[in-house]
């Protein structure tokens, strides 16, 4: 018998919700630590009706859009320049390496010092966390262009511009979009981490706010919204990726 993956996934998810809910209802687990699905759903609908949810989502999404947007522009540009010019690559290399391996969250206090508590610091965190991924993926993408294809294009009289538009860019797209997709996750991490400590609105703020008040249900509700947003953003980019990438189905 063939089983649809989606069906199995939904079933397992539903089973977990059911176990969770009943474990709390029958008193096996203290709801103070895990809350319960029905209460979380109620909390979500309350937040949605009061406008609190929408407000937090827009604040977080705006920070995400600005920080991630900066990352895309600067990361792609830096990666592309490094891919084109050896000198730029060598100049950027230590930074990329450093940003890649350092625990970037440690930068948070110094950003607070520079930008104060609030939106600019969150944006800086978002940018810092996602830019490396995007720059390195773009660079790797450009470096992995098959030189045989460049030679073939030149044999038909391609100019440098032709090479860029008709060979290098299309060949780089798959790796670059993979970097953009991974960057989304890291940017969201930047938003949430940034908001946890020094914000006045947003989903991360809401998580830490309700956490401080020991309101587990509302805290988990915000957590779920963050997860859903992450999934939606990544899915959106995956859809874009598949459009450009249909030839890569090996």
């Amino acid at each position: 018998m063939k089983t649809a993956p989606a069906l199995v996934g939904i079933t397992s998810f539903a089973v977990i919700l059911l176990v969770w809910e009943s474990a709390v209802r029958f008193g096996f687990i203290n709801p103070f630590f895990v809350s319960e699905p029905s209460a979380i759903a109620l909390s979500l609908s309350r937040a949605a009706r009061s406008g609190e949810l929408w407000h937090n989502v827009t604040v977080s999404l705006r920070e995400f859009a600005i920080g991630y947007g900066l990352s895309v522009v600067i990361g792609v540009l830096a990666g592309a320049l490094a891919g084109r010019f050896r000198t730029v690559e060598y100049a950027l290399d230590p930074f990329l390496w450093f940003l890649y391996s350092a625990p970037l969250i440690a930068f948070y206090p110094i950003f607070v010092l520079w930008f104060g508590l609030g939106v600019p610091t969150v944006i800086a965190m978002t940018f810092l966390l996602s830019v490396t991924q995007i720059a390195t993926s773009t660079l790797k993408g450009i470096q992995s262009v098959n030189p045989g294809l460049l030679r073939a294009a030149r044999s038909f009289g391609a100019t440098d511009r032709d090479l860029l538009w008709k060979v290098v860019l299309p060949a780089t797209v798959p790796m670059m979009t993979a970097g953009l997709r991974l960057g989304i996750g890291r940017a969201l991490m930047g938003v949430v981490v940034g908001e946890l400590f020094g914000a006045t609105a947003g989903l991360g703020y809401s998580i830490s706010y309700y956490g401080a008040l020991l309101k587990t249900t509302d805290m988990i509700a915000s957590l779920i919204v963050v997860v859903v947003l992450g999934v939606l953003c990544t899915q959106g980019l995956t859809a874009v990726e598949e459009r450009f990438d249909s030839w890569r189905t090996f």
Partner: protein, 262 residues
């Protein structure tokens, strides 16, 4: 009439004391791939270059294509020195070098897009690409991507791409080198059939002796260390050639001659 004016027409391709040198990786000196080679190729002939790996046969071909810069000497096409790739030449590569993100038809269109022959619209280019896809027997596969095709079919795309720009000279760099023996023979016969239609000047690099004889009007035999021409053999076998050609006495004699030089 003055006797001097009826001498043979100027060769289509002239290679004059050509030397090609590569830098060895990691600065371990240089490698002389082609050393002082002279070669004339007449218009409309099919010339094959045969020799062991490292004899500089591909370097010679790529110099004629304008993709490799000679250390000294020069290549002339129609009397004019070659310094870069040009519309009069098109190359078919051993590794096919197809754009994996382009479909068959768009790969064939690739060279046309780059060269944009005058007065042709985008639609004209597609139409022309379509004709060449058909010519190489890939009708029905227009919208396939290279990874969905067999090696032989991929090289058909490579050949169509080169023919589509309507070059005077077709340069083929071990085009069937990565194909299995049976496909290779098939492709050879089909290439000849296509070539017979308009007899462009063709230069075909291979390390297969039989393939070199089967296709050629003239065989250039090369040797290595340094890469040089050791013999040029004119092949006098009737065209069109078929499988039976390869069993003929003369064919076997050519094979023996080439073996001796290698």
């Amino acid at each position: 009439m003055d006797a001097r004016t009826v001498v043979e027409p100027a060769p289509h391709i002239q290679v004059e004391s050509l030397t090609v040198v590569y830098e060895k990786p990691k600065a371990a000196g240089t490698l002389i791939a082609v050393s002082n080679v002279n070669l004339d190729i007449a218009r409309g002939t099919f010339v094959t270059i045969v020799g062991p790996s490292g004899c500089g046969k591909s370097s010679l071909l790529l110099s004629i294509a304008g993709l490799v810069k000679p250390a000294s000497g020069c290549v002339r096409v129609n009397g004019k020195p070659v310094s870069a790739p040009g519309r009069d030449r098109a190359v078919v590569f051993q590794d096919f070098a197809l754009m994996p993100w382009r479909t068959v038809i768009d790969n064939v269109r690739f060279g046309l897009e780059l060269q944009r022959p005058r007065g042709l619209t985008g639609g004209d280019l597609t139409e022309r690409a379509c004709r060449y896809v058909e010519l190489v027997g890939l009708k029905g596969f227009e919208h396939y991507h290279p990874h969905q095709l067999s090696g032989g079919m991929r090289q058909r795309v490579g050949i169509a791409r080169a023919l589509a720009v309507d070059p005077e000279i077709l340069l083929l760099d071990e085009p069937f080198g990565s194909l299995d023996a049976q496909t290779r023979d098939e492709m050879g016969s089909e290439l000849l059939a296509i070539w017979e239609r308009n007899k462009k000047t063709a230069l075909f690099v291979t390390h297969g002796i039989d393939e070199a004889i089967f296709l050629a009007d003239q065989i250039v035999v090369m040797a290595r260390d340094p890469g040089r021409i050791t013999k040029i053999i004119s092949v006098d076998l009737p065209r069109p050639r078929t499988v039976e050609t390869t069993d003929s006495k003369r064919f076997i004699e050519y094979r023996r001659q080439i073996r001796e030089c290698l």
